[in-house]
Amino acid sequence: MLKVEEQTPVEFSSELLAKFDEIKSRYPEGKHKSALLPLLHLVQAEYLWVSTPAMDKVAEYLNIQPIEVYEVATFYTMYFLKPQGKYALEVCRTGPCCLVGAEKILKHLEEKLGVKEGEVTADGLFSFRGVECLAACGFGPVLQISPEYTFYENLTTESVDKLIEDLKNKS
């Protein structure tokens, strides 16, 4: 949930603000609040989560009340309201993926990473959680990794092991 005590100040870079400006230009005059969801995605891609000071900054940029940002950030499941691992693995846990073994993959990740769903590994690299249908039911089990949202399909415990090793070596 919303951590209001989190107060590390946030300053958006000029590159990020330039992206904000481009997105804001997509909507008619006076309807710039439409930019809120895309802006929060950009913030999350930059900081890997959406902190309260960052949300306040977004509100300031869009000239709306902070509560208008909080209510949106808490409604949609993609926005992380607390820090995640550098690689946040999200495994589909809905019906069709479960028919082909998604529950096994979740259990395997828990054992492999040594953390529970929602926790971050000690090295700060990984966190994982089960999410609802990712619209790839024919290629299940599937997982995605934010912030790029790269997709991995037809998972097996072996392919998950390999994926984790590859990510470890990369960083």
Binding site: F75, A136, F151
Partner: protein, 455 residues
Amino acid sequence: MSRKLLLEHINVPGINTLEVYRQKGGYRAVEKALKTLTPEEIVEEVKKSGLRGRGGAGFPTGMKWSFLAKPEGVARYLVCNADESEPGTFKDRYLMTHIPHALIEGMIVSSFALGAKVSYIYVRGEMMPQIRILEKAIAEAKAAGWLGKNILGTGYDLELYVQPGGGAYICGEETALLESLEGKRGNPRIKPPFPAIAGLYGCPTVVNNVESIAAVVPIINDGGEEYAKIGIGRSTGTKLISASGNLVKPGVYEIELGLPVEEFIYSDEYCGGIANGKRLKATVAGGSSVPVLPANLTLKLANGEPRLMSYESLSEGGFATGTMLGSGGFIAFDEDQCIVRNTWNFSRFYHHESCGQCSPCREGTGWMEKVLHKIEYGHGTMDDVDLLWDIQRKIEGNTICPLGDAAAWPVASAIRHFRDEFEWHIKEPVKSQQQNYGIANYAVPIEKAPVTEEK
């Protein structure tokens, strides 16, 4: 081989680029529409085609377009619903990944027909790779003069933008989608007013599914009457079916509506039968919201005639013996799957995705999830089955949007067709934790599958 209108060139290398898409006849519909047809004539062609909304509701697209209000001096919008989140459905993701220009071409023609100068494609946030693909394709199309100011010198201007969602199933409901596009929580609006009168920013708006918009392209190229010749009865044209679950070849298939369900499941042209040589136990024919059917009623109508993949045939017999085509998310369950577990899984999904506006849905979905969890893990009582029935009946029809119905139907149909399996879980609390029920009482016990307990 059946006719392919949307996926004809899916295997052509480079079809995701404008160059190859053009070589294969792409953007002919834009030229024809903008240069030779009036907006009214395009709407008329779509009406003649009999195209029905491919997102799930099956409402005639041409009729939806004709409802659009056209007050003087007020902007009109076309919004494409690419918030594909219905469990079992992944056709739009497939289409956008491989042939993004098919959607963009359809958007240009449709926007012209509706008089929209700015259009949005609302893509679910998790599909960031598809968003990148679409944005690249839009940039290509714009550079080549298919978008922007004065398209093909006709004086028609159109800007097309991709809007990401934030991960909420409810935003697939059109008024929730519009709320979300306005930067708010995805709470569905009370209708009326319908979006055709007051939609995005209070202006007249049409919201259409990706596949519906892509289907406008062949309709304009070949004419609405030609399109209407494909299919069966009031189910005209082709439909993308997302096949998943325990099938030999899951994936996205384009079928001519009217194909027998049996052929779809067992023919090598399509799903190739049930995986690992097992038997079919049940299917969900149109995405998780539609009623689950046992194998016999999937393949045949109650009167013994073959069931077909069409809007009418799949719903033949009402909910007593039928289901719905829905969004075309076809999920197959083999003999070792547990209906109670799957129903619990779907209920968890709807509980998670309920927006919380209406009490029957907000409270009811969570209640059903808890009761189903209790039964699945061997703590149920006989009263629980009746309780579930009672809860689902009180959700259905009592909510602002159809999410309540969508949560109620899978539970109702599971009890209707598989009540003995629920009762077996209750009567055999220990055994049901070690083996599955199978197709019926005589099913051979299988090894206990590893199970992850919900935290």
